[in-house]
């Protein structure tokens, strides 16, 4: 089990309220498929930004499925969720608006090089 994924979901659960999801009410099920064919499920229930995360399956308005390796990269900010959806590597079924909302919580890419003048917004 990857620490990045567990850490991502547990941290999201600890936040309790996520302002980026303040307009969102609904349940999103994440399905992480292993090479061996097993599926690891996480359920994120959002009620106007109040977020409860559980490590289990369950009914959801939106399901987001991906290989675990891809999901690990998403949690580290190394992968862009919307590009992965266009590629078919991240498969969303159900309510697409929930996908648009929930992808906001993934981190930005790690910044390797020293910031250019144009990148000073990071301060």
């Amino acid at each position: 089990m990857s620490d990045d994924v567990v850490e991502f979901f547990e941290e999201l659960g600890r936040r309790g309220h996520e302002p980026l999801l303040a307009k969102v009410t609904g349940r999103v099920r994440f399905e992480l498929v292993d090479g061996g064919g097993t599926t690891d499920r996480w359920l994120v229930a959002v009620d106007k930004g109040d977020t409860v995360v559980s490590h289990q399956g369950g009914p959801a308005a939106c399901t987001i499925q991906a290989e675990r390796a891809l999901f690990e990269r998403l949690c580290r900010g190394e992968e862009n969720a919307m590009a992965a959806v266009l590629r078919g590597a991240l498969v969303c079924t159900g309510d697409v608006e929930l996908l648009f909302a929930i992808q906001r919580i993934f981190p930005g890419p790690p910044r390797e090089r020293p910031a250019m003048p144009g990148a000073e917004g990071s301060r």
Partner: protein, 691 residues
């Protein structure tokens, strides 16, 4: 590219063919069936007994359907037309084509009809740049369908071709063996349907992207009729203006685009054919132009841009928290992160303009619910201005791309490489703080303050914004004002020095209200002076500047959209006659383009060419050119929402005569505006203050 292309479209699905209805695209040739930024058909060639056909006529029925009348045989030799063929094509999910073959002879005839089909599945970006494909092609024949597929890892796009009449299918097309009786006819319906992605492995669920892309089409003819019915009615003495108005309404209908997640709501895409997607700047400015005529476009634009607002720092995409997107794409290069458009955020003006549109929308509609709904995003946009856009550390919005290969160099509306120059023609370094961005920021702060007080019930925030705006205005009028020229510099360079050329951007500053009253007269005099005003409109760059070129993209041409905002700006400062003159010039130019204003036309003096010289461009109609006549109409009529009422204060060219706009929608229900042309626009107005 040939001269006689035929284009039909619905949203981001469009077909570009030759006059026969055929498509024979090479990788770099922009014909084919396109949907979601991918070419789904690059070869579609009809033959009868092995012969290509000749067009007799093309009937452009609507923007979404067309009819080709054809006879077998090509070339200069007169064809003995015993047979004729009609292709009636309409955009649906992909396109539907009714193919009819008519025998005009009194004898029976046997003919072989063949449609060659093929696809390169090029990304729209590849069509421009000729990039080699990295995936694999396959073809499948199943039952009565020909399925063309392209796969690269998990990425897949397919085209499904079927016929309502029996045919022989092979990997390269469909063949029909027909026996037509004397004066007989035969007909088949052909469907070409794009498929995004494939069903998941268990087979019972389908990716949302796939079914969202395949939303059922409403009755398009009825939809267009309703669209036209709901728009205000224009009555006037000058016939060409009616033509231009109707053209604008129909083109705006054609440019409507529903991004995935918008359901049946639509917003203006930027332009046909290459820009049928959401652009922050273009969608916002076009929605602003169209507000007095249609308010749903603005509501959808605001909601969809809010949904995709930046939330993190991503240098590849020039994304920051609160930033409003620049451009969004769905093609292969975007999917594999070879292009940053998922979405790309490299625009420095869309974010303040988002707040401007939200406020202007409320002033017209009274829809405080949407203002409440978007409070979080509007605040984030205002925060972006101060926290992320101040790249020079001097309190001004500036831009500099963070990815050299794929980022945009100029992140303002004048986005070509040489658009921002000093008087001597040299180019400044980066970051660049162009002047109109500061105007937009000023306006966004004041409008944000109004919304904070009125809807968000946060007077402290409102006061803070107003203080910041006042400070910005004071500094701006000091730092950007070119003393000896009496106009505003187009930008400050990386060292805070003035980029001192005289440009149309001064008009946008009037629109934003950032110009000190005492300086407005000089600015208006420049806009209407011979260096900027050609007689048709205001040039992007003034005659006498180092880079001035009457047919240079942003360095001398006249942009109708630019002029519509300049006219609005002139009115804001009381220069009613000058605004009427700009409006008259652009609307008179429209007559030369049958009511469809191009993106830009030449900056030659009107007295020299007598007609506006079109700038060669692949994009027409273009959304904000389509919106220009609408905003010019509103400007001439002096339409201004004040509380629950619509103020009408016309200043119209005498050449236009009587002008009536009936049933203008808004928070007042529907009202009419009447005007009579009294402004003499035959002699140029020269920046006289309003009376």
């Amino acid at each position: 590219m040939t001269e006689n292309q035929v284009k039909i479209l619905d949203g981001n699905t469009f077909v570009v063919s030759d006059e026969r209805g055929d498509i024979e695209a090479s990788l770099t040739d922009p014909t084919g069936l396109f949907s979601f930024d991918t070419r789904f058909l690059s070869r579609w060639v009809l033959t009868v007994d092995g012969q290509l056909l000749s067009p007799l006529s093309v009937d452009d029925l609507q923007y979404f359907e067309t009819r080709f009348f054809l006879v077998p045989g090509t070339g200069t030799v007169y064809v003995d037309a015993k047979l004729s063929v009609i292709r009636h094509r309409s955009v649906a999910n992909g396109f539907h084509e009714e193919l009819t073959v008519l025998n005009h002879d009194d004898k029976p005839v046997e003919v072989t009809v063949r449609l060659e089909a093929g696809c390169d599945f090029a990304d729209l970006f590849e069509v421009k740049d000729a990039v080699d494909k990295k995936g694999l092609y396959s073809t499948r024949l199943d039952d009565r369908r020909l399925v063309l597929t392209y796969r690269r890892e998990t990425f897949s796009r397919s085209t499904v071709i079927s016929s309502s009449q029996p045919c022989a299918l092979d990997e390269h097309g469909l063949t029909f063996q027909l026996q037509l009786g004397p004066h007989g006819s035969w007909k088949t319906g052909l469907d070409v349907v794009p498929e995004m992605l494939e069903a998941t492995e268990d087979g019972d669920t389908e990716p949302s992207l796939a079914w969202q892309a395949r939303r059922p089409r409403t009755n398009m003819a009825r939809n267009l009729e309703r669209w036209l019915d709901q728009a205000p009615r224009l009555e006037c003495d000058w016939e060409p203006l009616k033509t231009t108005y109707r053209r604008s309404l129909v083109d705006l209908a054609a440019l409507r685009f529903s991004p995935i997640s918008a359901g049946r709501h639509s917003l203006p895409a930027a332009g046909l054919p290459w820009f049928m997607t959401m652009f922050g700047r273009d969608s916002i400015l076009t929605s602003l132009q169209a507000l007095p005529f249609n308010q749903e476009l603005a509501a959808t634009t605001l909601r969809e841009l809010a949904l995709r607002q930046g939330t993190r720092i991503d240098d590849f995409r020039d994304e920051d928290p609160g930033r409003i997107l620049h451009e969004m794409r769905y093609g292969e290069l975007t999917a594999f992160e070879e292009r940053p458009h998922s979405p790309y955020y490299g625009s420095a003006d869309a974010t303040p303009l988002f707040v401007v549109l939200l406020d202007e929308y409320e002033r017209w509609t009274g829809d405080t619910r949407l203002v409440r709904e978007l409070e979080f995003e509007a605040r984030a946009a205002l925060r972006w201005i101060d926290e992320y856009a101040d790249l020079q550390g001097n309190g001004y919005i500036a831009y500099q791309r963070r990815h050299q290969e794929t980022g945009l160099e100029n992140q303002c509306w004048k986005d070509s490489w040489d658009s921002i120059s000093y008087h001597d023609g040299t180019l400044p370094g980066f970051p660049r703080a162009t002047c109109e961005l500061q105007g937009y920021a000023y306006d966004a702060k004041l409008r944000g303050a109004r919304l904070a007080r009125l809807v968000w019930h946060d007077p402290a925030f409102a006061e803070a914004l107003e203080r910041q705006a006042a400070d910005l205005k004071r500094r701006f009028n000091r730092d950007f004002w070119v003393e000896d020229g009496e106009y505003f510099a187009i930008a400050l360079d990386a060292d805070g020095g003035q980029v001192d050329s005289l440009t149309s951007n001064n008009g946008h500053l009037l629109w934003s209200g950032i110009v000190d009253k005492a300086k407005a007269k000089a600015v208006a005099r420049h806009l209407m002076g011979e260096r900027l005003f050609s007689g048709w409109g205001v040039r992007t760059l003034a005659v006498g500047e180092g880079r001035y070129n009457p047919i240079g993209y942003h360095v001398g041409t006249i942009w109708p959209f630019d002029n519509s905002f300049i006219a609005w700006g002139l009115r804001r400062y009381g220069f009613k006659e000058e605004a009427a003159q700009v409006a008259a010039g652009i609307l008179e130019a429209a007559e030369f383009f049958d009511g469809r204003l191009p993106e830009a036309f030449g900056g030659y003096p009107r007295s020299m060419t007598k007609y506006p010289v079109q700038y060669p461009t692949a994009c027409s109609p273009q959304a904000w050119s389509t919106g220009a006549p609408l905003l010019l109409l509103a400007t001439m009529l002096g339409l201004e929402p004040v509380g629950e009422h619509l103020l009408v204060d016309p200043a119209v060219s005498r050449a236009i005569g009587r002008l009536e706009l009936l049933d203008i929608p808004g928070r007042w229900g529907r009202v009419d505006a009447f005007a009579r042309g009294r402004v003499d626009t035959s002699a140029p107005a020269r920046g006289r203050p309003g009376r």
